[in-house]
């Protein structure tokens, strides 16, 4: 039983980690916590669903098309809403993303309604049994995708000039400009990429949570938890945080109480933050204003 709980927990945890990657990317570059990340993912998933059902495109075509739209959408959100508050206090930025969260959710409700619909899985549904532990091919797929994305971004930040420019911009905007970095376009692109990440997350999560405007509610919160636990600046931290939360809540649900699993998760986070205020893999943020 414990084995299966851990596998289930890892599966749920990789969803949280996947949803957390976009959050971390934005925070790492522009120092903004995007509370609308989940709702952006939801919108993109709806768009993908529209491609699938209305225009009847094949799965991977609609997947890719919606990611293109995601990129444009993310950049538009940055240009229209986030750029004016780049220098505003943290609270204003947080509230602005909350405003976006409400509007996106409301608009999705108006357009697509609130009745949940099923969403197809990436790969044909198959599962494996090994010493009494069951795992589906899609769970493995999500885990692999998350890991590849994380690794990809790790290499991107470490070894490409644009990745380096993103990190530099996040540390000191004025000096980054003196290096010739077009900081504004870096931020814009970051939001585009984050929206893509969100889109991938949404499309892979939708078969599990089903598709409706509230689909990212719980996953979104757990993604925040994962990001915070992992340190909010670290991509591997998101994976560690997500998997930890998934397994931890699985164990609590299995052995203590399924209704209180979230309470325990939050208690764990507060405990971790109390011991290490920057999260497990977080770095101390030293920022020049």
């Amino acid at each position: 039983m414990a084995g299966q709980i851990i596998i289930g927990g890892l599966a749920a945890g990789s969803l949280y980690a996947l949803a957390a990657l976009g959050l971390i990317l934005i925070f790492k570059t522009s120092d903004i916590v995007n509370f609308a990340q989940g709702e952006m993912a939801m919108l993109i998933t709806f768009i993908s669903f529209t491609f699938l059902t209305v225009t009847k495109l094949p799965y991977f075509v609609s997947f890719l098309l919606s990611l293109v739209i995601a990129f444009i959408f993310g950049m538009a959100v940055e240009r229209i809403f986030m750029r004016p508050v780049q220098k505003a206090p943290i609270l204003n930025q947080i509230i602005l993303t909350f405003g976006l969260y409400m509007v996106f959710r409301g608009v999705a409700g108006i357009i697509w309604g609130y009745t949940p619909v099923g969403f197809p899985e990436a790969l044909p549904n198959k599962h494996f049994n090994y010493v009494g532990i069951t795992i589906t091919i899609n769970q493995i797929f999500i885990f692999v995708v998350t890991t590849i994305l994380m690794l990809g971004f790790y290499l991107f930040f470490k070894h490409t000039k644009i990745g380096l420019a993103m990190r530099a911009s996040s540390q000191n905007i004025a000096t980054a400009k003196l290096m010739g970095i077009g900081v504004s376009s870096v931020f814009t692109r970051t939001w585009g990429i984050s929206a893509i990440l969100g889109g991938i997350a949404g499309i892979l999560i939708a078969p599990v949570t089903f598709l409706d405007p509230n689909m990212m509610g719980e996953v979104g919160i757990k993604a925040f938890a994962a990001a915070i636990l992992g340190g909010f600046t670290s991509l591997p931290g998101a994976i560690v945080g997500g998997l930890l939360i998934g397994v931890f809540e699985g164990l609590i649900a299995g052995y203590v109480s399924s209704e209180l699993k979230s309470v325990f998760v939050f208690a764990l986070i507060i405990l971790v933050l109390y011991v290490k205020p920057t999260g497990i893999l977080g770095e101390k943020i030293t920022k020049k204003v």
Partner: protein, 242 residues
């Protein structure tokens, strides 16, 4: 080669620069002197376009560059090495240097420049994989200058490179500045320490409340007691720095 004509600039409602005109001829070292808040750093920020120009023009090699974005200025190889070093704390020394060459595509020349910088500042080579935040103040200043040099500057804008450093290191840095100049880079040097700056400069401007109070050849400014007393707080002030 780089010329500022009647430049004015504001922070919000507060005027920072009032009709400033400066020339930096090719291959020269020009220094900006003046008290705190006189507008020295603002002049550099105007050139690198961190501070927008309200009126006046800026001309570089017969091109009007008054309304360009910061990255366009960098593209023209006018590189600003900011006050207080401003290295990226969470990038390694190596990454800080690489980011200095962000807009360049000439890979071979970049490699050569990198080795030049290591010959100026050997300590940076030892610290290559360390986070910049772990360096000492002097090392960070070296890194900042090195990073600026990675932009392969035609004009280098240096803001207070001596600030807060021990005299030995200051001398070392000033020697390197002269060396860089000898290799063909024009330099605009902002300094509080007038004696030091005038020792290596060809020409100097003295700023006062956002205006140019006085200008002249370096030896003229250096040897005029009246001027140094009136504008630069007197010899006693300069002596205090040492």
């Amino acid at each position: 080669m780089l010329e500022l004509k009647q430049i004015s600039a504001f922070y919000g409602n507060i005027q920072a620069l009032d009709r400033i005109s400066i020339q930096i001829p090719e291959g020269s070292i020009v220094t900006l002197l003046g008290a705190n808040g006189a507008g020295k750093s603002s002049t550099l920020k105007v050139i690198s376009q961190l501070l927008p120009i309200k009126s006046g023009t800026m001309v570089y090699k017969n091109e009007d560059i008054s309304n360009l974005e910061p990255n366009e200025i960098v593209k023209r190889r006018i590189i600003h090495c900011p006050e207080n070093r401003q290295v990226f704390p969470k990038l390694t020394v190596e990454e800080n240097l690489i980011i200095g060459s962000y807009l360049r595509r000439d890979k071979d020349q970049i490699k050569k420049d990198l080795s030049d910088i290591f010959s100026y500042f050997p300590i940076l080579k030892e610290r290559l994989k360390q986070y910049a935040s772990t360096l000492s103040g002097g090392e960070q200043q070296m890194l900042a200058i090195g990073r600026a040099l990675m932009g392969n500057p035609k004009v280098l804008l240096l803001d207070e490179p001596s600030l807060g450093l021990a005299p030995i290191i200051v001398n070392q840095i000033f020697e390197i500045i002269q060396e860089i100049n000898r290799k063909g880079t024009s330099i605009l040097l902002v300094e509080q320490n007038a004696n030091l700056a005038l020792r290596i400069a060809d020409y100097g401007y003295i700023l006062e409340n956002g205006r140019i109070g006085l200008e002249g050849r370096a030896e003229f400014l250096r040897n005029n007691d009246e001027i140094s007393k009136y504008y630069l707080g007197g010899k006693s002030h300069a002596a205090n720095l040492y």
